[in-house]
C-alpha cells in the first residue's frame, strides 16, 4: 500500500483501480461473514462456485457453448451490419427508402423478440445465435450507414479519377473511412450481444450460463447464483479487453491522427 503514491509515479493510476477493486471485495467478504445473511454469500464462497463452474463439467456443457453462441451471433450480426449499412450509406438514394424500417427494428429490444423467436425457430442453439445476431447487428448497421454517408466526397472523387468502380470505392475507400464509426457500433453491439446471450439462455434452455444462473437461483443455490454472475462478468470483461486490443490495431491511424479522441 505504501508503494502507491497518489501524485507522480506512473504505476500509481493503473494500480489504484486494482486496489479499489480489492478493497470492495474485502468489504464484501467481511460484511457477508459478519451479517450471515441467506442471500449474501461470502466472496470466497461465490468465487469458489465460479471456479467450479469454470473447471467442472459445466465448462464444456455450459460456459464454452455460451461463449461460442455469443461469438458466433456477434460476428454474424456485425458482418450483416457492416455489409448492409456501408452500401446503404454510400448509395444515398437508397437510404430514405429503408430508414423508417431500420429505425423501427433498431428501436426494438432484441430481448423482446425472444419469445417470438422461440415460437418460430424453436428452443435450440441456432435460435439463440440468431437472436444475438439480431441484437448485435443494429448499432453496427446504423453506425456503418452514418459513417459511410459522411465520408469526405474528396476521397471518393480521388477514387473515381483513379478509375475505381463503385464496388472498389466501397471496399477501398468508404469502408476504411467509416471504420472509426463502425468500431463505435461494434462496441455497443458487444454489450447488447452479451445481454441477449444471457437472456436467451433463460428461455426454454437446459444449458448455458444464463440457464445455470437462473437454475441456481430457482434451487436456492445462492453462492452458485453469485458464481454464475461472476463468470458472466469475467466473460464480458475479457471480451472487452480483447476488443480494445483489436480496435487499437485497426484504428491505429485514426487514434494517431486525432490524438485518441473518439468519433469519426
Amino acid at each position: 500500500m505504501s508503494a502507491v503514491r497518489l501524485r507522480g509515479g506512473k504505476v500509481a493510476p493503473a494500480l489504484l483501480g486494482w486496489v479499489v477493486a480489492a478493497l470492495l471485495l474485502l468489504l464484501w467478504q467481511l460484511y457477508a461473514e459478519s451479517a450471515q445473511e441467506l442471500y449474501l454469500p461470502t466472496f470466497t464462497d461465490s468465487a469458489g462456485a465460479a471456479w467450479d463452474l469454470l473447471t467442472g463439467a459445466t465448462l464444456t456443457s455450459d460456459v464454452l457453448p455460451s461463449v461460442g453462441r455469443f461469438a458466433l451471433g456477434y460476428v454474424v450480426g456485425c458482418a450483416v451490419g457492416v455489409a448492409v449499412g456501408t452500401p446503404l450509406g454510400y448509395l444515398r438514394p437508397l437510404e430514405p427508402w429503408v430508414r423508417p424500417v431500420l429505425e423501427f427494428l433498431r428501436a426494438l429490444p432484441a430481448t423482446a423478440i425472444l419469445p417470438l423467436a422461440l415460437l418460430v425457430l424453436g428452443a435450440n442453439g441456432g435460435m439463440r445465435v440468431a437472436v444475438i445476431a439480431f441484437g448485435a447487428c443494429w448499432p453496427v448497421l446504423l453506425n456503418a450507414l452514418d459513417g459511410a454517408r459522411h465520408v469526405d466526397p474528396v476521397l471518393v472523387e480521388t477514387g473515381r479519377v483513379s478509375g475505381l468502380g463503385r464496388f472498389a470505392i466501397l471496399r477501398r475507400i468508404v469502408l476504411p473511412a467509416s471504420l472509426p464509426q463502425i468500431f463505435a457500433g461494434l462496441r455497443i453491439a458487444l454489450g447488447i450481444a452479451l445481454i441477449v446471450m444471457v437472456l436467451s439462455e433463460m428461455y426454454g434452455a437446459s444449458s448455458g450460463l444464463g440457464f445455470e444462473i437462473l437454475n441456481a437461483q430457482r434451487r436456492f443455490m445462492v453462492p452458485e447464483t453469485y458464481g454464475g454472475v461472476l463468470v458472466l462478468g469475467l466473460v464480458g470483461w475479457s471480451v472487452s479487453v480483447l476488443f480494445t486490443r483489436v480496435e487499437r490495431r485497426a484504428l491505429a491511424w485514426h487514434i494517431g491522427r486525432t490524438g485518441g479522441r473518439s468519433g469519426a
Partner: protein, 267 residues
C-alpha cells in the same frame, strides 16, 4: 487543333437554388495542348473549382462537350489525376505515404507498383517518408505526396485546384519549383486553377482569365517568358510586370470601386 489533349467546348453548368437556378459557367471553351502548362485565373467565386470538376467528369455538365484527344468523353476522363487544394482531404489517412502513392496503381504487380511509387516519391524528395502517415507530415509535404500520386499513376493530364493556396509562402515557392521540375521531366499536361496572378504567370505557358459568374473566358495570354523560370529573375522581367498589369486590369483589380461595391463571397 490536333495536338490538343483536352478540348472543352461550350461548357455550361447551372446549380439549383431556392428560386430557380444560378448559372456558374456559360459557354466556356478551353483547349489544353499536349505538354502544356495552362493556368486559369478568375475573380473569387467565379466557379473555377466547378470548372475543373466538370472537366474531370466528377460533376455533370448541363451543356457542352469535353473531348479527350478528339473523342467525346462522358463520365470521368481517362489518364487523369487531380490535386486538390485540400491536401488533407484527398490523401487516405489510413494508408502510409507509400500506399497513398500506390493507390491508383491497381492492376500492376506488387513489385512494379512499389518501384513506381519509390520513383515518384524520389521526384518530390519524399523517399524517406514512405512509411509515414499523411497526418504526420506538414501541409507542403502532403501536397507533394498528392503530386507523387499523380506522377506514379503516369497521369498525362493533371488538373490542379489551387494546390498551393493553403500552404505558407516559403513552402509554396518550394512546391512551385518541384512542380515545374516534374512537369518538364515527365512532359505532363497541366491545367492549373489559381487565384494568384503571379503564380499563374510564373508557371504557365498560357493564362486564361475568367469573368465573374457565369464564367466565360475573357482573355487568353501567351506567357512568352524564357524557361527555366526563376522565382526572382523571372518576376523582375518587364514582360512579367506587363502581363501582371494586364491581368490585374482584366480582373478589375486596378479600380477603386472594387472594395466599395464589395466582391462576391468566395467559394
Amino acid at each position: 487543333m490536333p495536338d490538343e489533349i483536352i478540348r472543352v467546348e461550350g461548357l455550361r453548368k447551372a446549380f439549383a437554388v431556392r428560386d430557380g437556378e444560378t448559372l456558374a459557367i456559360d459557354d466556356l471553351t478551353i483547349g489544353l495542348r499536349q505538354g502544356e502548362f495552362l493556368s486559369v485565373v478568375g475573380p473569387s467565386g467565379c466557379g473555377k473549382t466547378t470548372l475543373l470538376r466538370c472537366i474531370a467528369g466528377l460533376l455533370e455538365r448541363d451543356g457542352g462537350d469535353v473531348r479527350y484527344r478528339g473523342e467525346r468523353v462522358r463520365g470521368v476522363l481517362p489518364g487523369l489525376q487531380l490535386v486538390f487544394q485540400e491536401f488533407n482531404r484527398s490523401l487516405f489517412p489510413w494508408l502510409t505515404v507509400e500506399r497513398n502513392v500506390r493507390f491508383p496503381l491497381h492492376g500492376l504487380s506488387r513489385a512494379e507498383a512499389a518501384e513506381r511509387a519509390r520513383h515518384a516519391l524520389a521526384l518530390v524528395h519524399l523517399e524517406t517518408f514512405a512509411g509515414h502517415y499523411p497526418w504526420q507530415l506538414s501541409g507542403g509535404m502532403q501536397q507533394r505526396v498528392a503530386l507523387a500520386r499523380a506522377i506514379a499513376a503516369r497521369a498525362e493530364l493533371v488538373l490542379m485546384d489551387e494546390p498551393f493556396a493553403s500552404v505558407d509562402a516559403q513552402t509554396r515557392i518550394a512546391l512551385e519549383r518541384v512542380l515545374l521540375d516534374v512537369w518538364r521531366e515527365l512532359g505532363l499536361s497541366i491545367l492549373f486553377v489559381t487565384h494568384d496572378i503571379e503564380e499563374a504567370i510564373l508557371l504557365s505557358d498560357r493564362v486564361l482569365v475568367l469573368s465573374q459568374r457565369p464564367s466565360r473566358v475573357i482573355a487568353e495570354l501567351d506567357v512568352d517568358l524564357p524557361r527555366p523560370r526563376d522565382q526572382l529573375k523571372t518576376k523582375e522581367l518587364p514582360r512579367f510586370q506587363d502581363l501582371r498589369e494586364e491581368i490585374f486590369a482584366l480582373l478589375g483589380l486596378d479600380r477603386d470601386e472594387l472594395l466599395a461595391t464589395g466582391s462576391p463571397a468566395t467559394t
